[in-house]
Amino acid sequence: DQQVKQNSPSLSVQEGRISILNCDYTNSMFDYFLWYKKYPAEGPTFLISISSIKDKNEDGRFTVFLNKSAKHLSLHIVPSQPGDSAVYFCAASNYQGAQKLVFGQGTRLTINP
């Protein structure tokens, strides 16, 4: 039972354009969502988060959008840069739990020059 799904295993985007990574979840108890970025042979690095009381959170080139009714979130990267090439994981948790994160399968983003 995959509670958090990233249906696109890979995405290729031209440098300077917008990258949009998508994530769907099924558990309506989730109320906190995070995006992590992972380079090969390194641990995941926290990128940006959003709580369910918001529908948008921005940090520099990165914006996360949350659509609670559709149980969908997305990460927008504008403009995309070569250093953004990595695997991106979305994760979800709830305030009442012991902060146990449930991860999606990941999307490999490749930025082409």
Partner: protein, 113 residues
């Protein structure tokens, strides 16, 4: 970067042998977690700890045990390693209960022959 180290970083072992992985933090965070990362599954929680000697199971805990005798150290033990436990193992920490970010260590790559 969060002060998290994992040892060893790479290990090759044989089926049936015991293996212990160590996670060490210098942040004095209350919560510590062990995840495994496998293709097509993202990261899955094995066990977590919410204080010294306080641990609980995650999603994929069968075949694993943990111990936490000091705030800074969280050990993951495979009592009798199997080939299905070949994976990359990540430790993570967070400050406390609530919707807070988890920070990850660099990972341990384990191969069980």
């Amino acid at each position: 970067d969060a002060g998290i180290t994992q040892s060893p970083r790479h290990k090759v072992t044989e089926t049936g042998t015991p293996v212990t992985l160590r996670c060490h933090q210098t942040e004095n965070h209350r919560y510590m977690y062990w995840y495994r990362q496998d293709p097509g599954h993202g990261l899955r929680l094995i066990h977590y700890s919410y204080g010294v000697k306080d641990t609980d199971k995650g999603e994929v805990s069968d075949g694993y045990s943990v111990s936490r005798s000091k705030t800074e150290d969280f050990l993951l033990t495979l009592e009798s390693a199997t080939s299905s436990q070949t994976s990359v193992y990540f430790c993570a920490i967070s400050e406390g209960q609530g919707a807070e970010t988890q920070y990850f260590g660099p990972g341990t790559r384990l191969l069980v022959l």
